[in-house]
């Protein structure tokens, strides 16, 4: 391949020679990025396995992982030191828990091996993290509920799981930091404002009346369905160098200016909401609830998508994190619906990419929010259940919050996460302040230089501007069918 490439550039005129080096670099980059792009052939939404493996070899602080033996030895000490420290030390006797193994299963961006390893180290029992794509995960929870202890769920999956009776309620009293959970989740409000209820907001799926209940109820109760652990607000990513102006409105995704250079997310439930945000922004359609459309609304949205596709508006669609990164990095597209860490991943490659701040204005715009949380499988009892509560509480003790913050996600309890972050980090990730020193990702790779400001501003800016939440609609089957019509048009 390199040989052919040399042949190709040797045909250039001599004065272009200077360009060669950068061309060669570019080309190598394109080859490399594309190759990495699809190494994870899981069709669902996730990072490539290679990437995940690379990341998992080092833990957040850059220390080498602790050996199993050392870990078990430490467990006894930890048990003795119960109650001390900020790591949510176990209150059950280390000897009894060391044989316990919790299986935490879910999507790769939420169930992270490095986090599980740290939890095991701090808590003294085994935690095995298993990644499946969204659909494989919910299928497993529903069809083999015994094979999972901590199912990792999105709001809509929680609704399904509760109705199927595979979860047990989480007792609010046993969650130490419950009072410090942001009210987005516990009360459905933030900074004194009601958080959008379009789609399935985490609050909407949050409570049941008893441990055994299979019915989600409105209002605050003593039993939770799932414990939020990581969340973010999605928007679009674009190439400022190729577009040359600021993008702050969803309608730009469908702007004819970007014909043949736009891409949209091809996960029907989420992709259609991105399309709806764009159509709403353009003033074409007003939705009653973008997260739960009527058939007429679905028709209008899909018809618009089909028309755009026929005009050649979409260069591609994407389904995995890496695909979105590579489409952008390889110059195939200049604007697309995108996730915040994916935008960061493009920038780490040295290619300018901006996460569009789409704050609500005039009843339009806003982010599409999502949240993953942990459920307790119904079959958990006794010591294993106690261990599961320890595990849940550990997530709110700060280490995990700091870890996910470093790739752009948030903890429901920022207060404890702050203890594990430097002032610079917390200022950059949570408060939207300019970085005072270099910003590094959880694995120590430098992401931003001093002075950089996070796109989209502070957490308050983002989460007071949520337009809708990831969802599954009542007319889901009809929507899925129409989405496939768009795909085959």
């Amino acid at each position: 391949m390199q040989f052919l490439y040399r042949a190709a550039i040797d045909l250039e005129s001599p004065k272009q020679n200077a360009r060669r080096a950068s061309d060669a670099q570019n080309f190598t980059r394109v080859v490399r990025t594309w190759t990495l792009a699809l190494c994870s052939h899981q069709p669902g939404v996730q990072m490539s396995k290679r990437e995940t493996r690379r990341r998992n070899t080092i833990n957040a602080s850059g220390h080498t992982p602790v050996s199993r033996r050392k870990l078990l030895k430490g467990a006894a000490a930890l048990g003795a030191a119960a109650g001390a420290g900020v790591i949510g030390a176990p209150t059950i006797w280390a000897q009894e828990i060391k044989d316990i193994e919790l299986r935490h299963i879910g999507v790769s961006y939420s169930v992270v091996k490095a986090v599980g390893d740290q939890a095991a180290k701090d808590l003294g029992f085994k935690v095995s993290m298993q990644n499946l794509d969204t659909s494989a995960a919910i299928t497993r929870f529903v069809t083999q509920p015994e094979s999972v202890d901590i199912p990792d769920l999105e709001g809509w999956q929680t609704k399904v799981a509760v109705a199927r009776g595979i979860l047990q309620g989480i007792e609010v009293k046993r969650i130490k930091e419950f009072d410090n959970i942001l009210p987005i989740f516990t009360k459905g409000e933030y900074e004194g404002k009601k958080v959008s209820r379009q789609g399935i907001s985490p609050y909407e799926a949050m409570y049941v009346e008893s441990k055994e209940s299979t019915k989600i109820v409105e209002g605050v109760h003593d039993w939770m369905t799932f414990l939020p652990q990581v969340y973010n607000a999605d928007s679009m990513g674009y190439r400022p160098d190729l577009i040359g102006r600021k993008i702050t409105e969803w309608k730009e995704l469908f702007n004819p200016e970007f014909k043949g250079k736009a891409a949209i997310l091809d996960v029907p439930n989420i992709g259609i909401m991105d399309a709806a945000l764009a159509l709403e922004s353009r003033g074409d359609v007003t939705y009653n609830n973008k997260g739960n459309m009527s058939r007429a609304e679905i028709d209008k949205t899909i018809d618009a998508l089909i028309a755009l596709k026929k005009q050649g508006h979409f260069r591609a669609t994407w389904t995995t994190f890496d695909q979105s990164v590579e489409l952008m990095a390889a110059g195939e597209i200049t604007i697309q619906s995108m996730w915040s860490p994916a935008v960061a991943a493009v920038r780490v490659k040295g290619i300018p990419c901006v996460y569009a701040p789409v704050n609500a204005k005039g009843g339009k715009e806003g982010y599409r929010g999502w949240c993953n949380g942990m459920g307790l499988a119904r079959h958990l009892t006794g010591k294993k259940l106690d261990a599961a509560y320890e595990y849940l509480n550990w997530y709110y003790s700060g280490w995990q919050g700091a870890f996910v913050a470093r790739y752009g996600y948030y903890s429901p309890v920022p207060k404890t996460a702050a203890k594990f972050m430097t002032g610079n980090e917390y200022g950059y990730w949570y408060d939207g302040k300019p970085a005072t020193e270099e910003i590094k990702d959880p694995y120590g790779v430098i992401m931003e230089k001093p002075g950089a400001v996070r796109d989209g501003g502070s957490i308050v800016d983002r989460f007071t501007n949520i337009s809708c939440w990831n969802t599954v609609m009542d007319e889901n089957q009809y929507m899925s069918k129409r989405w496939n019509e768009f795909k085959s048009a």
Binding site: M1, L4, Y5, A7, A8, I9, L11, E12, D23, N26, F27, V30, V31, W34, T35, A37, L38, C39, H41, P43, G44, T134, S135, I138, T139, V142, K159, V160, A163, R164, G260, A263, D266, V267, P268, N269, K309, F314, R315, A316, T317, W318, T319, A330, G331, E332, V472, D474, N476, Q477, S480, K481, W483, N484, E485, K487, S488
Partner: protein, 286 residues
């Protein structure tokens, strides 16, 4: 041990494997395809509503048309290329050892996975890919050719690349059995080279063509990943629609779709086998 018992014993392992890993799962899919479902669960039932849905949807027709179209185009190109590759290997390479060596070379790319072979097209065909850069640097074009990637073209190129070997192998096999004396006879009878190929070789390798066609067509009909990636998500296929169903737990609908696909593919294979009696051909040639 009686002859009959021996036959039963010989057949038993394969039968057991097929029963456990093929027949039972298919029966399960068949059963689910008659179930009811609502937002939160699948309810055992016996209803034809899923089939009614599948058969009444315009989408089904679109998906099948698009998938069958790909199957036809890919079948044509794999047959064309596969036939001449096999022909060259069998009749033009004199040394049998070299022929077998070259045949093995054909299989080298298959030591890697399908996925690797597929994604290796991406840096070649992309906007900033090798081919576009070559053409631009040769001043043949000013702007990148966009049809190269994320298009029907890309899908077909990739399928042909992935599946030609499945045409080569049975053709190579059939051709190897042709008695070389037939060529002399054809020449003596005054046939041209092309006539020999058309009237001697093609009729004798019919079974190879049929087997290869079955491989290629069923592979294309059952694929969804190549279409998804190489078309840049611009195309759906029969199976990708099923995948979308499953991702939101619409199992009965997906199951009905799957059963329908099995019926369609069986019918296609039946038609092909009707055209050529493979069993008879194979026996006759011995």
């Amino acid at each position: 041990m009686s002859a009959r018992a021996r036959v039963v014993l010989q057949v038993l392992p394969l039968t057991a494997v097929l029963l456990a890993f093929f027949v039972v799962p298919i029966l399960f899919v068949l059963a689910v395809s008659f179930f009811h479902y609502d937002d939160f669960g699948v309810v055992p039932a016996f209803s034809f509503e899923n089939y009614a849905d599948v058969l009444s949807e315009h989408l089904t027709l679109d998906l099948y048309l698009s998938t069958v179209r790909f199957a036809a185009i890919v079948w044509f190109f794999t047959l064309l290329i596969g036939f001449w590759v096999a022909y060259f290997l069998v009749f033009h390479v004199r040394n049998q050892l070299v022929a077998i060596g070259l045949f093995l070379v054909c299989t080298v790319p298959f030591w890697t996975s399908n996925i690797i072979r597929m994604i290796s097209w991406l840096p070649l065909l992309g906007k900033e890919g090798l081919i576009n850069r070559l053409l631009i640097n040769m001043h043949l074009i000013n702007r990148p050719l966009e049809f190269l990637l994320f298009s029907d073209f890309a899908v077909v190129v990739c399928y042909v690349h992935l599946f030609t070997i499945f045409m080569i192998v049975p053709l190579f096999n059939s051709m190897s059995r042709i008695d070389r004396a037939l060529f002399e006879a054809a020449m003596d009878a005054g046939m041209s080279r092309l006539q020999t190929v058309l009237f001697v070789v093609v009729p004798l390798v019919k079974s190879g063509i049929v087997l290869g066609s079955i491989f290629v067509i069923t592979l294309v009909m059952g694929d969804f990943y190549v279409v998804k990636v190489m078309s840049g998500g611009g195309h759906a296929s029969v199976v990708s629609a099923m995948f979308d169903d499953i991702s939101v737990l619409l199992f009965p609908h997906a199951a009905a779709n799957a059963v329908f696909l099995i019926i369609i593919v069986l019918m296609m294979v039946g038609l092909i086998l009707r055209a050529v009696d493979v069993r008879k051909e194979l026996v006759d040639q011995r």
